[in-house]
Structures are given as structure tokens and as C-alpha cells.
């Protein structure tokens, strides 16, 4: 197929809208233009962990700011559909060679022009190992990435990127990847002005972008606030509908929640656990609870001796059926999540809640016990062995839900099961990365871009970066590859869902539930919309 215009080709993705709007919460885009468009909106944020460079921003604190002060070739609308921003067209015939034309006459907020070179230079900069950019692996699909990302590499341009003229550049991938155009709205793929490369560190403190907003003069007051003002050079679809956005840095969500109650903060994404029970009454008519592209899993590593072979597969399935997801959601999360029916997210295009084999996600104590007994007949579970689930317990609700889950597994399978608590995220990641787990571990995934592949490839592909459980199945890899090589998004999605059937047989991870964003806003602003990624659409927020 030929991608004449990205937005049209991906228009099929509109199906996604269904799952979002069904959940209510103000996804009606018609009601935003009213209200005062001159007042500054305040929103909560965490201090960005790195300088504000596209390829170095891999966490939400910086991501929220980057998404407002930069814009890429495409952006994602409220439903996760890609719409063209800077791209005039993204064309390919084989899903491997792309010709990208950008709209002419576009400039950065300082007036310097946006050309094909702005993208090529930015991507080369992001990929090169010597620049130490955390998102470097995002460019791995591009031909020549291996050479620039190697340790001590001297080459710093990828051969797959070529500037044709001022408004055209070409991308050659190492292999066919049909969802490449979907990724181009992600932070890592934003362009950079010429001035960024002289002193990237200084640029990161005072970035010049091309988004609907720009950083106010001295606007980044570290650990305190980040002030953005509208960028009048921007003329894309995300035009600012307010007088600016000021992010207030909060280290505690409880403090932010109280501030919205007192109307000293306008928009809060993420109601803290203490507010989950009451936020709909505390903020009547000023709250939202809607799914976003994120899920929670429990990984059972393939290197555990008790989970090998046929017995291992049965045990994984038995564990998955041995606890009542809905009950845990109701009791611990006050019903704010949705039971998982597959490995991705319901807000994505191609989501299928009836994938064959997904009955292993249904609570069935009798069946679980039966499977466990069968597994024991093949190779007995060690008498004193405890099934542990490792999790950091500094995250909200982790300790409570895993304890509940372990108790149910213990009761229903007749084995010992418990939470293995570690104090911090860094400690858990170290254990996971060193493959030192002696049991299952908590995992979760938040999409970088709206695509089924983003939930499957990085987590379950052989040798993939976030494949915590060392899962490897050539049949699964082949399905993914076929999905990537597909010439249409629909066909790709069909293959990705077939790949999920394999996952249900192997159960490298046990899907738990889909995440939802709980957001609230103050009396000072009109209805706030939250997007496919759970982030509020701050550019569209108007004051009362």
C-alpha cells in the first residue's frame, strides 16, 4: 500500500474513538473553544529528570513539557489517531523506505526554519552513543544505527537518513516496519534547530522548540515551576487556547490534590491513592476516569527452574486463573481499572478483546487447581517453595494488590505465595536486569506511541530491551516480523493479534488489568480532556 498522507492512511484508527468516548469524561472536542483564552493554566508535574532534549526525555516529567514546546511530523489526537503536524506526506511502498515531505515555511519559535535537515540532524544526534541520549534505542530501526550506537563509535550519521532538499528527506529502515509512521509523534523524533548542537546541555536548559508553546524567559525554575507561553509561530492543529501553561512541580500527589481542592492548581493528572475513593464526590462534574494506553502485568521469568517445559506452562496458566482480578480492582483500586483481556490496551487501534486463548485470564479456581495438579504430576512443586512476586513498594497501591493477589493464589492453589517487597524502583530494576529474580515480578507498560506492536515487541520479542522474563519463541518473533512487514495497519494488527494467541499459550507474563487515568480540575477552568496516553490536553484548556 502507498501511504499518500499519514492521517488518511491511519484514519482507520478512528475505531479507537469508540472505546474512549464510551467511558465518558469529556472527550467531546466541540466544547473547548468557549471560555477565557487569555488566562494562564496551572498543572501539576514532576521535575524533569534530564535536560529538555527530545532524545533525552524518557519520563513524563520532561515529556509533558516537551510535548507542548515541540511538535513532530505527526501528533496524536485525543483518541490516539495520528494527524499530520509538520509532515506534508509520509510515503512508502515497502514499509522500509520512506519519503517524508514537510510543510514549507515552518519555523522554530526563534524564527529559524524547520527543514529536512532539522530532523535528520536531530535524529543522528539522538542515536549517536557519544551524546548519551536515553532514547537512543528509538532509532534502532533506522539503517546505520548499529554503527553510530556502538561503544567508541566515530561515525555519527546514520546511512539510512538522507536530506533530499529543504522540505524532503528519506528514511531507510534496516527492515520493513509498517508502524514506523506511528512512532513519529513520539518525543524522540522531534526536530532540533541548528543552535541546539553547539552546546546541547545548555540548550536542554533553555530549549527552543516549535510546539504550541515556548518556554518563557527564565521559565524553568528548577524544582519549583516551568512557565510556558503561547508560541505565535506555531500554526498546527494544537493551537494554544489559553494564555499559557505553568507547570507547578509537586513531589507529592496528595499536596497537588489538596491544591486543586483549594483552586490554587487548575489541572491534576493522577489522583493519589488516598483520593481514589472520594475524588468523584470531591470534584463533582470536574473529574475524569478513562482508560489510557498502559497496562499492568506480572512477569514470570523463563529462567525459573519450576516454570520449565509443559509443567511450567500449566503453572503459569494456573496462576493466572487463581485470582479474581475484578475483586482486587474493586476492593483496592475502587473500581478505577479494567480487567485485562489481552496483552495490549483497549485504547489502541486493532484491540481485540476476544483473542482465542484468553480464557486463561478468567478467574476459575477449580480449573486452576486442576492445572496445577497436572503440572505437579509431571514435575512436583518443591514442598517448601514459596511463589514470590517482587515489587517495589514505594509505588501507590503496589503492596496492597500484590498481597491480595498472593493470598488468593495461595488459597486457591494450596501453595505458599507472598509479596517480596523491595524498597525502591531502582532496586527492583537492578534485580530484573541482572536476571536475579527467584519468582515473578510486577511489571507495567505505558505506550510510547499508539500501536499494538509497542506493547508486544519491546516486552516479548527475543532479546528485546524490556523483555524482563527472557521470553523467546521463534513462532512469536516470526508473527511480529510479519506484522511489521505488513503493508497495511489493519493487516499488521491482525498478525499482531495472532502473535498474542501464542503468548496466551506460553504466558511469559500474566496480564492483570488496563490502567486508567484519574484526573481532576479546579473551578477556574472548563472541562479538561485527557488523551489516549492519559495526559491532559493542556493546550485546549480554557479558563472560566
Amino acid at each position: 500500500m502507498r501511504f499518500s498522507r499519514t492521517s488518511k492512511a491511519l484514519g482507520l484508527a478512528a475505531v479507537v474513538a469508540m472505546s474512549l468516548s464510551a467511558c465518558g469524561g469529556g472527550t467531546d472536542s466541540g466544547n473547548t473553544a468557549t471560555g477565557d483564552t487569555t488566562k494562564v493554566i496551572t498543572a501539576n508535574n514532576t521535575e524533569p529528570e534530564n535536560g529538555l532534549l527530545p532524545a533525552n526525555t524518557n519520563e513524563v516529567g520532561g515529556g509533558k513539557v516537551m510535548d507542548l514546546i515541540f511538535t513532530g511530523l505527526v501528533s496524536y489526537d485525543v483518541t490516539g489517531r495520528t494527524v499530520n503536524e509538520l509532515a506534508e506526506s509520509i510515503e512508502t511502498e515497502d514499509s522500509q523506505n520512506y519519503t517524508i515531505k514537510i510543510k514549507s515555511g515552518q519555523t522554530f519559535s526563534d524564527g529559524s526554519p524547520i527543514t529536512g535537515k532539522s530532523f535528520v540532524d536531530a535524529w543522528n544526534f539522538g542515536a549517536a552513543a557519544k551524546n548519551k541520549q536515553l532514547n537512543s534505542y528509538f532509532f534502532e530501526s533506522i539503517k546505520g544505527y548499529d554503527t553510530v550506537s556502538a561503544e567508541g563509535a566515530t561515525v555519527d550519521t546514520m546511512e539510512g537518513l538522507k536530506v533530499v532538499d529543504d522540505t524532503t528527506f528519506t528514511v531507510e529502515l534496516a527492515q520493513a516496519e509498517s508502524d514506523f509512521p506511528l512512532r513519529l509523534g513520539y518525543t524522540a523524533f522531534y526536530p532540533l534547530p541548528e543552535s541546539a548542537f553547539a552546546d546541547p546541555a545548555a540548550f536542554g536548559q533553555n530549549p527552543v522548540g516549535n510546539g504550541p508553546y515556548k518556554l518563557a524567559e527564565g521559565g524553568w525554575k528548577h524544582d519549583v515551576s516551568i512557565e510556558l507561553v503561547p508560541n505565535d509561530k506555531y500554526n498546527g492543529p494544537r493551537k494554544a487556547q489559553n494564555g499559557g501553561v505553568t507547570f507547578t512541580i509537586f513531589t507529592s500527589l496528595d499536596a497537588a490534590y489538596t491544591s486543586v481542592q483549594a483552586d490554587t492548581l487548575d489541572v491534576l493528572k493522577d489522583v493519589p491513592p488516598s483520593g481514589l475513593q472520594n475524588f468523584t464526590t470531591d470534584f463533582e462534574g470536574r473529574n475524569v476516569n478513562q482508560p489510557y494506553a498502559g497496562n499492568a502485568n506480572m512477569t514470570i521469568p523463563s529462567y525459573l527452574p519450576e516454570f520449565q517445559g509443559e509443567a511450567g506452562t500449566m503453572r503459569r496458566q494456573a496462576i493466572s486463573m487463581a485470582f479474581d482480578r475484578q475483586q482486587i480492582i474493586d476492593k483496592i483500586f475502587y473500581g478505577t481499572k479494567t480487567v485485562a483481556t489481552e496483552f495490549t490496551s483497549p485504547v489502541l487501534d486493532g484491540f481485540n478483546k476476544a483473542i482465542p486463548g484468553n480464557e486463561v485470564l478468567k478467574f476459575d479456581a477449580a480449573k486452576a487447581k486442576e492445572l496445577w495438579a497436572k503440572a505437579d504430576a509431571i514435575s512436583p512443586w518443591p514442598a517448601d517453595k514459596v511463589f514470590t512476586v517482587t515489587s517495589n513498594i514505594d509505588g501507590p497501591g503496589n503492596k496492597e494488590y500484590i498481597t491480595a493477589m498472593a493470598n488468593q493464589i495461595s488459597t486457591n492453589l494450596g501453595i505458599k505465595a507472598e509479596l517480596n517487597p523491595v524498597t525502591s524502583f531502582k532496586e527492583m530494576r537492578a534485580m530484573v536486569n541482572k536476571k536475579e529474580l527467584t519468582g515473578a515480578s510486577r511489571a507495567g507498560w505505558q505506550a510510547d506511541y499508539p500501536s499494538l506492536y509497542n506493547f508486544l515487541g519491546p516486552l516479548f520479542g527475543t532479546g528485546a530491551g524490556s523483555n524482563d522474563g527472557n521470553y523467546s519463541n521463534p513462532a512469536f518473533d516470526a508473527k511480529l516480523k510479519a506484522g511489521l512487514a505488513a503493508t497495511s495497519v489493519d493487516e499488521g494488527n491482525k498478525l499482531f493479534n495472532e502473535a498474542q494467541e501464542i503468548l496466551f499459550k506460553d504466558m511469559p507474563a500474566v496480564p492483570l488489568w488496563y490502567q486508567a487515568v484519574q484526573g481532576v480540575w479546579s473551578n477556574n477552568v472548563n472541562t479538561v480532556q485527557f488523551g489516549w496516553d492519559g495526559q491532559p490536553l493542556l493546550y485546549a484548556v480554557t479558563a472560566k
Binding site: 534530564n50 550506537s149 528548577h222 519549583v224 507529592s252 532496586e427 530494576r429 537492578a430
Partner: protein, 308 residues
């Protein structure tokens, strides 16, 4: 007196190195991998990871890391945070806020603590005394975070008298509420210390002599009883100042104060040795100086105490 002061400052040197070494080791020994956490569980190109490890000396053994840290310290380079900012800048932003908060809390607890303590001590067993004793007991018994959340909800949200969280650069007026919460517990202790000390000294020989000399009640109380009774109170306040300057993790968290407590908490969570050690190093200096001032105050309060 001068010799005494100099000696105390010389003691600072081994204390400083001992404390920083210990803290550096503690951060080093906390389980977990800061660079892995930096990637947020997402993959990281191996070459990028190696380069980051080298940048923060995390590829070196412990002694080498500490030595490199000290080497930088000599040139007044406190190192960089994982987000690439100078630790010195980060601390320079957070300390004024915490210092403001500490001074307000200290002033609050010292003034009202001594005032209430003196009145209670002089009227031992009367209604005021009993009320203050019970009230202070309640304050001591209730954890700070409960006090903080309740005051925040009542004063900040329900009554709307003050912002529930501090805005921007934390001006003095917005720090009143957190300072109150921070000072309340110590206030209770100051009251009780002052009261006990006053009621004990009221029966001392020199007080009877002063009264017999025909001095006014006011002079007896202020100059003879109070001055002599302040020694335990000043000791407590001195130690408390050190604690307050270390930042109040709980209170700063509740009121979103961008101070040292918050900074330290975040840095410990991330395993950012450079920041943690720098904050602790400054704290060591603050404690030593505060203790020195307390010791010098002893001599002023009680002429019988001399330093040579």
C-alpha cells in the same frame, strides 16, 4: 574562649570527613542501580549506559568513587545531579527556603515555648499550667503528618485562609502554616523543659536571696530565675535548629515546599550520592556551629561556666 572556638572548628575537620565517608558509603550500599532506574524500565543502548556510568564514576570501585568526589570537593566542585545540574546550584536554591522555614519555626517555638513555659512554671498546679501540660501532651502524641494534613485541610481548603501548598519561591507569608506545623512539636517540648526548669529553680538559694534583697518580682523572674533556667532550653533549641536546617521531609512534602528535605528525599530515592553527601556535609557544619553557639551561650547565661 577564642582558643575554645578554634579548637571546636578544628574538630570539624575529622567529623566532616567521617560523616561524608559514612554517608557516601551508605548511599553506595543501598541496593539498586541508579542508571537502570534512570531509564525507567525501558531499554537503554549499551553504549549510552556505559557512557553514563563513566560520567558519574559509577563504573569505579567505592574507594575510587569517594576519592574522586573528594578531589572535586577540594576545587569546590560538588558534582552533578543525574539530571545534569550542578549540585551546588540545586543546594543554593533549596537552602534559603529551608533556612527561612527553620528560622520561622524556631522563632515560633522559642518565643511561645518560653513564654508559656515561664507562666506555667510560675503558676505550677493552677489552671493555666494544667491546660498547657495537657495540650502539649496532645501535640507530642499526634504525629506531624496528622497535624500537617489536618491544618492544611482546615486552614487551606475549608476556611481558605492560606494556600494549602506553597507557591513558587516560597515567600515568608506562605511558610507560616508549614512553620507552625514544624514548630508545634518542639514547642511542646520547649514549654515542658522551661516549666520544669523554672519550677526547680524557684526554690533555689539565690532566688530566695534575691527576693530577700528586696528585688522586684519581675527582676527576680527575668534575671535570676529565667536566665538560669534557660540552659536546658537553649541546648534543646540548638539541636533542634540543626534538625530543622536538615529539612523536614514530612512537612515539606505535605506543603510542597521546595526545600532541602524534599531535595534529600528525592536524591536518596534516586541514589544520587553527590547530592546526598553535599547536603549532609552542610548539615554537619550546621550542627557543629549550632552546638558551638549553644556552648558559648552557656557561659553567657551562667557566669559560673567558663571556657579556656
Amino acid at each position: 574562649m577564642v582558643m575554645f572556638t578554634i579548637r571546636r572548628f578544628l574538630q570539624l575537620i575529622p567529623v566532616f570527613f567521617g560523616a561524608t565517608l559514612l554517608v557516601y558509603f551508605l548511599v553506595f550500599a543501598t541496593p539498586g542501580d541508579p542508571i537502570a532506574a534512570l531509564s525507567g524500565g525501558k531499554p537503554m543502548a549499551p553504549a549510552v549506559e556505559a557512557a553514563l556510568r563513566a560520567q558519574y564514576n559509577l563504573d569505579q570501585p567505592f574507594w575510587m568513587q569517594y576519592f574522586l568526589y573528594l578531589k572535586n570537593l577540594v576545587t569546590l566542585n560538588l558534582g552533578q545531579t543525574f539530571s545534569g545540574q550542578e549540585v551546588a546550584d540545586v543546594i543554593a536554591r533549596a537552602y534559603p527556603v529551608t533556612a527561612r522555614l527553620a528560622i520561622m519555626a524556631l522563632a515560633f517555638e522559642a518565643f511561645f515555648g518560653i513564654l508559656f513555659g515561664v507562666i506555667a512554671g510560675l503558676r505550677k498546679g493552677k489552671l493555666f499550667d494544667s491546660t498547657v501540660l495537657v495540650a502539649s501532651l496532645v501535640v507530642i502524641a499526634v504525629p506531624t503528618f496528622v497535624l500537617g494534613f489536618v491544618l492544611q485541610l482546615v486552614v487551606g481548603v475549608k476556611l481558605g485562609w492560606a494556600r494549602p501548598t506553597v507557591s513558587g519561591t516560597a515567600p515568608w507569608n506562605e511558610l507560616i502554616l508549614p512553620a507552625l506545623v514544624l514548630g508545634l512539636v518542639s514547642l511542646a517540648y520547649v514549654i515542658r523543659l522551661t516549666r520544669a526548669s523554672i519550677s526547680e529553680n524557684m526554690n533555689a538559694d539565690y532566688v530566695r536571696t534575691a527576693t530577700a534583697k528586696g528585688l522586684s518580682r519581675r527582676r527576680v523572674v527575668v534575671v535570676h530565675i529565667l536566665r538560669n533556667s534557660l540552659i536546658p532550653v537553649v541546648t534543646f533549641l540548638g539541636a533542634d535548629l540543626g534538625g530543622l536546617m536538615g529539612g523536614a521531609i514530612v512537612t515539606e512534602g505535605i506543603f510542597n515546599v521546595p526545600g532541602v528535605g524534599n531535595l534529600l528525599f528525592q536524591a536518596i530515592k534516586k541514589g544520587e550520592s553527590a547530592t546526598v553527601v553535599a547536603v549532609v556535609g552542610i548539615l554537619v557544619i550546621v550542627f557543629v556551629v549550632a552546638n558551638l553557639v549553644v556552648d558559648l551561650l552557656y557561659a553567657w547565661l551562667d557566669p559560673r561556666i567558663r571556657y579556656v
